[in-house]
C-alpha cells in the first residue's frame, strides 16, 4: 500500500511491517545511527519522538522506537532496536541534537543507558527520586510511595569576573506554572540560562497504562489543561488509527471547529500577555477580554470552558445546532472586527514595537537542530503544521495559509499568532459552511484495537504539534502511551533564545514562547 514510501526511505535489508499508517522495521543496534541520520539529514524527515517499551515479561527484551513523520502522506516510519540481555543502547544525540532530551527521558524512566550521551543528568524526576527506580518499567509498583532520596543536582556554571547567578522559581509571583530557572549573568546580560523542570510531574504515562480506555481520554485532556481539546484529539486519533472504523463526517468538522476555537482563546490570551509583559496595559486588557468571550462560547457550546468531555473515541459528544452556528458566526465576525481594531491601535505604539523587535531572537540553526515546533518554529520560517503535514479531521477540505515570519524574535512570534487568529476565523467559517447538516456524531460500534500494533495521533495544538504514540500488546490492550507535547521539544531551546538578552527582558521572551510546564513534565 505504501510501496512508494517504503522504496524511497527504507533500505531493502530491512523487513518492513505495515501497521495502519505506521511502517515499522527492526534495525540492528549497530545500524541505528546510520538509519536515523539518513532519515533525518538526507531524507529530511522530522523526528517525532524516541521512546522505549518494556517487553521483558513477554519477550525478554526492551525496544527503543524512533518515530519519523513523512510530511504530506500521514505515514510514520518507525525503525526500532531490540535490547535483550543489555540495558544499553547507542546514543544518537551527538549527531541528532533533538534526540538529547528523548534519550535522557528514556534513561530516567526506563533505566536504559544511552551510551555516548553527553549529559548524564536525569530529566523530569528530581534529586529526591531514588536513582534505581524506573517508573515506566512494567515491574514498577506505582501504588507504593518510593523512599525519599537525597541526591544532588548540578547546574551548569559559568566562571569569570563579575558573573553571578540568579535562581528564579519554582514558585513565581504571577499565576503561572512552577519551573526553576538558573541565570548566570554578567551585569544585566544573560550569559547562560538553564531551566530545571519537572515540578508538575504527575506520572501521566504510567497512568495511561493503567486506567480504563474512556478514562484515558479524560487523562489526555489533563496533560496540559490549556490544550485539553487538542491533546484528547491527538490521543483519540491514535486509538482510532489502531482500529478499523471511520469517524463520522460531521464529527470531523466539529473537531476542526473546536480545535480552532481553542486556538483562538489561547492566542488571544498570549497576544494580550505578551503586550502586558512589556507594560502595555491596553493590550493586556483587550487580549484577556477577547479570550474570555471565546471561553464563554466554549461553555455555551460544550458546557466546559476548556472543551473537556467533548472528544471521545470515534467522534465527539457535543453538537452545534443550526441556530447556534448562526449566532456563533455572527459573534465571531464581531470579535474579528474588534480584534482588528485592537491590533491597529497597538501597532501605532512605537514603544511597544521597540520592545518586541530583536528581543529573544532564536537562531535558525539551533531551532532546526532541536526540531522546534509550532509558533516558535513558524516565527523563523520553519514550515511545519500538522494540519497540513498529516491532515486529520476535516482539515484536508479546508483552505488556509500557514502563518510564517522570519526573524524568530518576540515580534515574529506575536505576529505568527496574530496571523493564525485571522486564519482560525476563516477556518471556522469554512467548516461551519461545509459541515454536513445532519448525521451521526460518534461511531457507535464496539471499539477493538489491533493486537501487537502501533497507533499514531498528531494534531496541531495552538503551541504546536501534539503527538501520541500508542503501543498495544498481544491481547489488544494498550501497554504504552508516549505523550509528546510541543513544549517538550521547545523547552530545550528557550535557554538559547534568552542568551545575550538582559534579565528584565526574560519574562517577555518566556511569555512569547508560552510553553507548557505540565505538558513537558507529564
Amino acid at each position: 500500500m505504501y510501496q512508494e514510501i517504503v522504496e524511497k526511505y527504507i533500505s531493502k535489508n530491512y523487513q518492513v511491517k505495515t501497521d495502519g499508517n505506521v511502517l515499522i522495521y527492526e534495525v540492528p543496534s549497530s545500524d541505528i545511527l546510520k538509519v536515523a541520520t539518513t532519515l533525518y539529514f538526507e531524507q529530511k524527515l522530522p523526528l517525532k519522538t524516541i521512546t522505549a517499551v518494556d517487553e521483558r515479561k513477554e519477550h525478554g527484551r526492551f525496544r527503543i522506537l524512533y518515530v519519523f513523520g513523512v510530511p504530506g502522506s500521514s505515514v510514520f516510519l518507525v525503525p526500532y532496536i531490540t535490547l535483550s540481555g543489555t540495558e544499553e543502547f547507542p546514543s544518537i544525540t551527538k549527531q541528532i541534537q533533538q534526540a538529547a532530551w528523548h534519550e535522557r527521558k528514556i534513561k530516567t524512566f526506563f533505566g536504559l543507558e544511552p551510551v555516548g550521551h553527553p549529559d548524564h543528568k536525569p530529566l523530569i524526576l528530581h534529586e529526591n527520586w531514588p536513582e534505581n527506580l524506573f517508573p515506566l518499567r512494567k515491574d514498577f509498583n506505582w501504588q507504593q510511595r518510593p523512599e525519599e532520596a537525597h541526591n544532588t543536582y548540578q547546574f551548569q556554571t559559568v566562571e569569570g569576573e563579575g558573573i553571578y547567578e540568579i535562581p528564579v522559581g519554582p514558585v513565581h509571583a504571577g499565576i503561572i506554572e512552577p519551573g526553576h530557572f538558573r541565570f548566570s549573568v554578567a551585569g544585566e546580560e544573560i550569559v547562560l540560562l538553564e531551566p530545571k523542570l519537572g515540578y508538575v510531574h504527575k506520572g501521566t504515562e504510567k497512568l495511561f497504562e493503567i486506567l480504563p480506555l474512556q478514562d484515558k481520554v479524560k487523562l489526555s485532556e489533563r496533560v496540559s489543561g490549556d490544550t485539553s481539546f487538542t491533546h484528547s484529539l491527538a490521543f483519540c486519533q491514535a486509538i482510532e488509527s489502531l482500529s478499523s472504523f471511520e469517524v463520522p463526517e460531521r464529527a470531523k468538522y466539529l473537531r476542526v471547529i473546536f480545535s480552532e476555537l481553542e486556538r483562538l482563546a489561547n492566542h488571544f490570551n498570549d497576544v494580550g500577555f505578551v503586550m502586558l509583559d512589556t507594560g502595555f496595559s491596553f493590550g493586556g486588557a483587550n487580549g484577556t477580554r477577547l479570550r474570555e468571550q471565546i471561553m464563554q462560547w466554549h461553555e455555551r457550546l460544550t458546557g466546559s470552558r476548556f472543551l473537556r468531555g467533548v472528544n471521545t473515541i470515534g467522534g465527539v459528544t457535543k453538537d452545534i445546532s443550526a441556530d447556534t452556528s448562526k449566532a456563533l458566526l455572527q459573534d465571531l465576525q464581531k470579535i474579528q472586527k474588534d480584534f482588528r481594531e485592537f491590533i491597529d491601535i497597538s501597532e501605532d505604539s512605537a514603544s511597544l514595537l521597540n520592545r518586541l523587535e530583536g528581543t529573544g531572537q532564536l537562531d535558525y540553526q539551533i531551532a532546526t537542530d532541536h526540531g522546534v515546533l509550532g509558533v516558535a518554529g513558524r516565527a523563523l520560517g520553519i514550515v511545519s503544521d500538522s494540519r497540513i503535514d498529516y491532515p486529520y479531521a476535516a482539515y484536508n477540505k479546508i483552505k488556509f495559509n500557514i502563518a510564517l515570519e522570519k526573524n524568530g524574535d518576540v515580534r515574529s512570534r506575536l505576529y505568527v499568532r496574530i496571523k493564525e487568529i485571522f486564519a482560525s476565523f476563516s477556518i471556522i467559517e469554512q467548516a461551519l459552511a461545509s459541515m454536513p447538516t445532519s448525521g451521526k456524531l460518534v461511531f457507535e460500534g464496539k471499539v477493538e484495537l489491533r493486537k501487537n500494533s502501533y497507533g499514531v495521533g498528531s494534531a496541531e495544538g495552538w503551541r504546536g504539534e501534539v503527538f501520541y504514540f500508542v503501543v498495544t500488546d498481544n491481547e489488544g490492550q494498550i501497554t504504552r502511551v508516549d505523550v509528546r507535547d510541543p513544549s517538550f521539544i521547545n523547552w530545550a531551546v528557550l535557554g538559547y533564545a534568552g542568551k545575550g538578552n538582559v534579565v528584565p527582558d526574560f519574562p517577555l521572551i518566556n511569555k512569547s514562547f508560552n510553553l507548557s510546564y505540565s505538558g513537558h513534565d507529564v
Binding site: 553571578y164 496595559s281 486588557a285 505604539s349 520592545r355 528584565p504
Partner: protein, 311 residues
C-alpha cells in the same frame, strides 16, 4: 499660634494625602483598561492591613534591614514638611535648600538599596544594582532642572523659588517649561514609574523598586510602601509648586490657605492624570535604553539654564 497650625499641616499633609494619590493613579489606569478598579482609598486599607500583620525577617538580615524602613519613612516625612506645599511662609527653614532636599532623598534611596542587598537574595541584589544605576543617572537631570530655577530667582531656598516664580511674567516661563520637561523625566525615574519601572508588575525579573522590597513584610513593608507614596507626592508637589506655583498662598490667613490647599490638590491631580495616561498608553522601555532618556533630561535642563543665564 498660626505658625504652629501651618507647621502641623505642613508636616502631616504629605503622609496623610500620599496614599490617596496612589489610589487615584491606579483608579485612572483601571478606567483606561475598561476595568472598574479598586476604590481610591484602597491604599489606606492596604497600609492599615499591613500594619496589623506579623512580619517575617530573614535570619541573615542585619540592623540595616531592620532600621532602613524607619529611616526611609522619616526622611520622606521631613522632606515633605520642608517643601512648599500650599504656602510660602517658611522661607527661613534651613532644610528647604534645594541640595539638602535632593540629598536627603538620595539618603533614603541609599538605605533602601542597602536593605535590598542585606538579606542576600538575588532579587534584592539586582533590584539595588538597578536602582543605583538609575539613581546615579537621574541625579544630574534632577539637580540641573531645579538649578535652572535657582538661576532664575537667585536663591536655592525652595519657598523663595516658589514665591518668586509665581510672580514671573508668562514670557519668562519658556525656559522654565524646558526645565520642567527635564524634571518630569527625572521624577518618573525617581518615583519608579513608567517608562522606567512598572509599579503594577508581578514579574520579579523586571522589577527595580519592588525587587528591593521583596523581602519586607508586615509593618516594615507598610512603612516602605508609605514612604514610596510620600516620595511620589513630594515629587508631584515639587513639580506643581516650583514650576507652576500659581495659587500658592503668600500671606497667612484662613481663606488664602484654604484656597491654596485646593489649588495644590488640583495641580497634583493633574500631574497624577499625566502619569496615569503615560502608563496606560506606552510600553516600558528596555533597561539599556533608560540612560538615553535620563541624558535627555539632563540636556533639557542644561539648555534651560543657558537660556536663563544668557538671555
Amino acid at each position: 499660634m498660626t505658625s504652629i497650625i501651618i507647621w502641623t499641616i505642613q508636616l502631616a499633609l504629605v503622609p496623610a494625602l500620599s496614599p490617596l494619590f496612589v489610589g487615584v493613579i491606579r483608579k485612572i489606569k483601571a478606567r483606561f483598561q475598561n476595568r472598574v478598579g479598586a476604590s481610591i482609598f484602597q491604599p489606606y486599607n492596604d497600609l492599615w492591613k499591613l500594619l496589623h500583620k506579623d512580619e517575617v525577617i530573614s535570619e541573615d538580615a542585619s540592623w540595616v534591614f531592620r532600621f532602613a524602613p524607619y529611616i526611609i519613612f522619616a526622611v520622606t516625612v521631613i522632606v515633605g514638611a520642608s517643601i512648599p506645599l500650599f504656602a510660602t511662609v517658611f522661607a527661613n527653614n534651613s532644610l528647604s535648600d534645594l541640595l539638602v532636599i535632593v540629598y536627603l532623598l538620595a539618603l533614603s534611596t541609599f538605605f533602601l538599596a542597602l536593605a535590598g542587598m542585606d538579606t542576600g537574595s538575588a532579587f534584592g541584589g539586582f533590584g539595588s544594582s538597578r536602582e543605583m544605576t538609575v539613581a546615579s543617572l537621574t541625579e544630574g537631570g534632577l539637580i540641573f532642572s531645579m538649578l535652572a530655577l535657582v538661576f532664575a530667582v537667585d536663591s536655592a531656598n525652595l519657598f523663595k523659588i516658589s514665591e518668586a516664580v509665581s510672580a514671573f511674567p508668562l514670557v519668562a516661563m519658556m525656559p522654565i517649561m524646558l526645565a520642567f520637561a527635564g524634571f518630569l523625566i527625572a521624577m518618573l525615574a525617581e518615583t519608579a514609574r513608567f517608562p522606567f519601572d512598572n509599579p503594577a508588575t508581578h514579574l520579579e525579573l523586571t522589577m527595580i523598586h519592588e525587587a528591593m522590597i521583596l523581602e519586607y513584610s508586615g509593618k516594615r513593608l507598610a512603612l516602605v510602601e508609605w514612604a514610596a507614596a510620600n516620595k511620589l507626592l513630594i515629587f508631584l508637589a515639587l513639580g506643581a509648586n516650583l514650576f507652576f506655583p500659581w495659587g500658592i498662598a503668600t500671606t497667612v490667613g484662613l481663606m488664602p490657605i484654604l484656597a491654596a490647599l485646593g489649588w495644590f490638590v488640583i495641580k497634583v491631580l493633574l500631574l497624577s492624570l499625566l502619569i496615569a495616561v503615560l502608563e496606560s498608553s506606552i510600553a516600558k522601555f528596555r533597561f539599556f535604553r533608560l540612560p538615553d532618556l535620563l541624558f535627555t533630561s539632563f540636556i533639557l535642563s542644561v539648555i534651560a539654564i543657558s537660556l536663563i543665564i544668557f538671555i
